[in-house]
């Protein structure tokens, strides 16, 4: 699960991490009040940031022509104009796709004068199965590019989960970033707090980009998280009711939400061949084999190991609500699962939905003879595939004909 920047900053703040002063606002009134409060407390510059789960906000464009999902304001009037042009409007960035996302919330925050930018992240190092802190002096830029071109500029600190992060590790990073004096000590506290946030919230990734040394109104330097992104481990959400409450369904695809109600794992893609498969690995390979034979998959859909008739029926409705779909490929290897149960589910779903698109079914495994007989006796036009490859060729041919 992903959360918004303002929510990530709330979690960080709860763990003693410095973030710029600011408030999330859902209405123009809230935004005006928040902006006024910041100007009144001595900030000469504030930032209005669209809150959507996609990157590239600053360079994005709203569908009504307004440019920039992140804007700096010097006056209250400017701030209000920007808020007006963001709230309730649709922002298109390089990550949202052409349909964009509606901005429901904006973050109105102090825009501190940035002296230097850094990068800081906590993630899982799969090679060691331990948490890894990554930091770099190259902040505010694409970290993947830094890792590619100048890997020596990335500092890494692996944390032993038995004891957690030790202050010396945070000091080593702070030193590696070239920090001195008060900012050094503040950075150590901040790094400890970011790690604690990551571990205690069961985050799969915390990314602070940029982490920045800023010059505050009083002329003193301090270090804080100017931007923050947190992704959570879905498996651990059951023990974080407070974080689960941060879920923003408006940011998720309606079809994917519908699928999750039936414990189906569905991801919408752009192709024309819908797939319904049991098992994640087989579902991925089904997409791959469609592409291998010249087609394009419309979705990833794993109905799981013990799919019921209801799930198969729900799965059909979900894949059919994608208007791009021109044919359906059902690929089931029923190891333990009864192929006849699946076959009955298919027949019922086809009748219920009045399916007219070509349907190619490859059934294999437990009770497969009965399953195939059920399909044959249904009187429906179902094309049968003997192997995955045979079925994939047939479904691609059906779309191309």
């Amino acid at each position: 699960m992903n959360i918004h920047e303002y929510q990530a900053k709330q979690l960080l703040k709860q763990n003693g991490v410095a973030v710029p002063a600011g408030d999330p606002c859902k209405t123009l009134e809230e935004a005006t009040t928040a902006a006024k409060r910041l100007f009144d407390s001595g900030h000469s510059l504030i930032v209005i940031k669209s809150q959507i789960h996609a990157g590239g906000r600053g360079k994005g464009t709203f569908t009504h022509g307004f440019k920039g999902g992140v804007k700096l304001a010097k006056t209250l009037e400017e701030a209000v104009t920007y808020a007006e042009n963001m709230l309730g409007k649709t922002l298109v960035t390089k990550q949202t796709g052409p349909e964009g996302r509606v901005v429901q919330t904006i973050l109105v925050a102090a825009a501190e004068k940035i002296v230097k930018e850094f990068y800081l992240a906590v993630l899982l190092d799969r090679a060691t199965s331990r948490p890894l802190i990554m930091a770099s002096t190259e902040g505010g830029v694409d970290i993947e590019e830094v890792a590619e071109k100048t890997p020596e500029k990335i500092l890494k600190e692996t944390v032993d989960p038995a004891v957690g992060i030790q202050p010396y590790q945070a000091r080593r990073i702070a030193r590696g970033l070239g920090l001195k004096g008060e900012v050094f000590n503040a950075a150590v506290k901040l790094i400890m707090g970011v790690y604690k946030t990551s571990w205690e919230c069961d985050a799969s990734m915390v990314e602070i980009n940029p982490l920045a040394i800023v010059e505050t109104a009083s002329g003193k330097e301090s270090i804080m998280c100017v931007d923050a992104k947190i992704s959570l481990d879905d498996n651990a959400l059951y023990r974080h009711a407070d974080i689960l409450a941060m879920r923003d369904l408006a940011e998720e695809s309606p079809l994917e939400i519908e699928a999750s109600k039936f414990s189906l794992n569905y991801i919408k893609l752009d192709g024309s061949i819908a797939c319904l498969v049991n098992g994640a690995g087989l579902a991925m390979s089904t997409m791959d084999i469609i592409q291998h034979y010249g087609g394009l998959p419309a979705n990833f859909l794993d109905v799981g190991g013990g799919a019921s008739k209801d799930q198969v029926s729900a799965a059909f409705k979900i894949i059919l609500s994608d208007p791009n779909v021109k044919a359906i490929f059902v690929n089931i290897f029923g190891g333990i699962m009864d192929c006849n149960v699946i076959a009955n589910g298919i027949v019922e779903a086809v009748k219920e939905t009045g399916l007219t698109l070509p349907l190619i079914v490859r059934l294999e495994g437990n009770n497969v003879v009965a399953g195939k007989a059920t399909l044959a006796a249904s009187g429906l036009t179902i094309i049968s595939g003997d192997t995955m490859a045979d079925a994939a060729k047939k479904v691609v041919a059906a779309v191309n004909s």
């Binding site: 899982l124 331990r130 038995a162 059951y238 994640a280 991925m284 997409m287 791959d288 990833f300 995955m388």
Partner: protein, 300 residues
């Protein structure tokens, strides 16, 4: 020899009375697997009975091991309690803990793996179908089935199969069996980002196992475990290996069903893994339909 287990291995089932454990334990018993004990806290003293086989249930793994001599466990307990169940098996000194449970928090597994380091117990999984060492009987009965794989698709023979995915393992096994080619052991290492046993761990054992003559290695996007195994094979491999990677068409940044199946930061792509396979001389199956044929061509 097979790897990890033999038909004589004594198995205990953690979570034997839960719906998942109770559904799969009878299938293992019917397969001929030596299921000698079950563990469900609070149900100690009860019996799990299936077709005349009476499996005693214990409150703790320690008791179950002491009373029955079980050396291996299958963990079916729900995700919030799975880490504890695994560590209980480790504490009882089991040789092998096979964790089927899907959905264990990653940080729990990070802790479990740290706690297990240096200890003798091997963990397989989590989020895996388990292990099958096929037997001599009809539909490979008389073998050792730990987990949820369909036993009947197997056949006793000389191919080792290792995979991160359940149904894709079955697909490969079924392709082999349909061609009259049997398997020594089939191991599902699981689809989570933190697992107990890696592709490389299993590959090394297959290479050392005289009964294994060829290997099918099935991976998927995410991480670099397949690349690690391929590098080792390039240097030390002595047997033909064929492989497939699922997820070439997966969009970056999305988790494809399995918690570990994600391309992030440009890392863990199918392309990188296929390249590593080719560089190591591993036969690459062009489609998942050709896993068995690709290996059999190499073995001619």
């Amino acid at each position: 020899m097979s790897i990890f287990v033999t038909p004589q291995t004594k198995i205990l089932i953690q979570g034997i009375t839960g719906s998942f454990g109770a559904r799969h334990t009878p299938l293992s018993i019917e397969y001929g697997t030596q299921v000698v004990a079950g563990v469900t806290p609070g149900k100690g003293g009860q019996i799990f009975e299936h077709k005349g086989v009476r499996v005693p249930i214990f409150d703790t793994v320690e008791e179950a091991v002491k009373a029955t001599g079980a050396t291996t466990s299958a963990v079916f307990v729900p995700p919030p309690f799975a880490a504890d169940a695994i560590l209980e098996g480790v504490d009882a000194g089991l040789d092998l803990v096979v964790t089927i449970t899907e959905g264990i928090p990653v940080n729990d597994m990070v802790r479990v793996k740290r706690a297990m380091s240096g200890l003798r117990t091997r963990l397989i999984g989590p989020n895996c179908p388990g292990i099958v060492t096929p037997g001599e009987g009809k539909d490979s009965h008389g073998g050792c089935r730990i987990g949820i794989a369909p036993g009947y698709i197997h056949k006793k023979g000389n191919i080792g199969v290792v995979s991160r995915s359940g149904t894709l393992t079955y697909e490969a096994v079924f392709q082999l069996t349909c061609r009259g080619v049997g398997q020594s052991t089939c191991v599902g290492i699981g689809g989570d980002p933190v697992n107990g046993t890696s592709h490389l761990d299993v590959i090394k054992l297959f290479m050392a196992d005289p009964e294994t003559h060829g290997i099918i290695m099935i991976g998927e996007i995410g991480g670099a475990a397949e690349e690690e195994a391929a590098e080792w094979i390039a240097l030390h491999g002595t047997k033909p290996v064929a492989g497939f990677i699922a997820g070439a068409t997966a969009p970056p940044g999305r988790r494809m069903g399995h918690a570990g199946a994600i391309v992030s930061g440009g890392k863990g792509t199918a392309q990188a893994k296929f390249d590593a396979f080719r560089a190591a001389g591993i036969g690459v199956a062009a489609t998942p339909s050709e896993m068995a044929d690709t290996l059999l061509r190499l073995m001619k």
